[in-house]
């Protein structure tokens, strides 16, 4: 059970940060997960008046405020233009419209949940997080940090000509994923680079980077071999939704399909 003694709507990021330094303070996102935990929170800090609920596009980046909802991500034209339907695909299975009107990007990323679709999607892209105290760091670095008392202000995705795919397997359509995979490819420092991200293994999403030059007309067998290679570099676990072995197989299938789809687009 969650109990809260004080509720504060922070007026500035400074105020939010200062309040959050107390051991029993917590920053609230959409309250989807925090509510389900057992905690005695002295002060809950609401960031909703800090203007963090906007998605801003500039020449080089798309900046997603921490308080943006998953529904905003789903409907964001800028992200769609840049990365196709993949971003919407990564969130549209999450419970329902009402849930996605409420769950925040900041909450999803900060929580670093094993089941997180949002994390699985953005980890594969060229993504940074903007922290109040810690500055702007790579999402891949943030993911492996222990939760601390900093404030997550926004998610920054660098625009680039990368191709993005997202796929997941679920038991019921709106359940947590049994497995979720994103694949991104593009030129990095002049080299064709592939990023693979697998979430819900059921451990939290992890990222794999490969400098693979794959011809657009690669044979099915070769492609399968690449996918096998990529999938084999992740670890998998067993829970109610699937065994480690099955998850590894699914990751391989999804990665192959996503790579194939990207290559087909290039043809």
């Amino acid at each position: 059970m969650l109990t809260i003694s004080n509720y504060v709507k922070a007026k500035t990021p400074e105020e939010a940060y200062e309040l959050n330094q107390a051991r029993s303070s917590r920053v609230m996102g959409g309250m989807m997960w925090m509510r389900l935990g057992n905690a005695r929170v002295k002060t809950v800090i609401d960031l909703s008046e800090l203007g963090l609920d906007q998605i801003e596009e500039s020449d080089n980046v798309i900046k997603i405020g921490a308080m943006c909802t998953l529904r905003q991500l789903e409907e964001c034209e800028a992200l769609k233009e840049m990365y196709g339907d993949g971003i919407a695909e990564s969130v549209r299975h999450i419970v329902g419209v009402q849930f996605r009107n409420q769950a925040t990007v900041g909450g999803s990323i900060y929580g670093r949940f094993g089941f997180s679709d949002v994390l699985t999607a953005f980890l594969a892209l060229d993504t940074f997080v903007e922290l109040y105290d810690g500055g702007t760091i790579r999402l891949s670095e943030f993911v492996n940090r222990k939760p601390d008392k900093d404030i997550l202000l926004s998610l920054i995705v660098r625009k680039s000509k990368r191709k993005f795919r997202y796929e997941s397997i679920r038991q019921t359509k709106t359940d947590f994923p049994v497995i979720a995979c994103s694949v991104v490819t593009g030129m990095v420092h002049g080299k064709e680079t592939w990023y693979f991200c697998v979430g819900a293994r059921p451990m939290k999403a992890a990222l794999l980077e490969k400098q693979w030059e794959i011809p657009k007309d690669v044979s099915e067998e070769m492609l399968a071999e690449y996918a096998r290679q990529a999938a084999s570099e992740f670890t998998y676990g067993t829970n109610m939704r699937g065994s480690a072995e099955y998850r590894r197989h699914l990751a391989e299938v999804l990665i192959r399909r996503e790579m194939s789809s990207i290559l087909a687009e290039g043809r």
Binding site: Y7, K9, G96, V97, K173, T174
Partner: protein, 163 residues
Amino acid sequence: MEIQFILNQKQVTAEIGADAVLLNVLRDLGCKSVKCGCETTNCGLCTVWIDGKSRLSCSVLAASIAGHEVTTLEGVAEEAEEFGSFLAGEGAEQCGFCSPGFIMNVLAMFRELDSPGIDEIKEYLAGNLCRCTGYMGQLRAIQKYMQAKKTQKMAQRRGEATA
């Protein structure tokens, strides 16, 4: 703490705890249509609108809605009755316990989407669980309601044209 917000077009004041959830505050304010089916944001029974958007009142901190506008089924009674008659026309309310949250999200959908197709409807309403009906009757009711509205609009336009 005391909060003020607009509930069904009326300014209201409520004395609440910092951890009070909106669902309970609304029920205490007399909006008994708002139901709780799961506590874990999976069922959609507690759906209300906050500033016009469908949200799950079971996981909204009441403190956070100060100054915002909340709408429950009681606030859209006429529309609910109109759509509800189509639902009842199919027998698709059955036990009725999920009807208020469902109807709130259906009405939100009509505000957001223009003549949605079957797949769009299903996806938009996927967060509204129903254990009685198997969902088919709800879909029939929505389709018939949309058709009736369309006919109504066309008749109106014809009326305006001839006037």
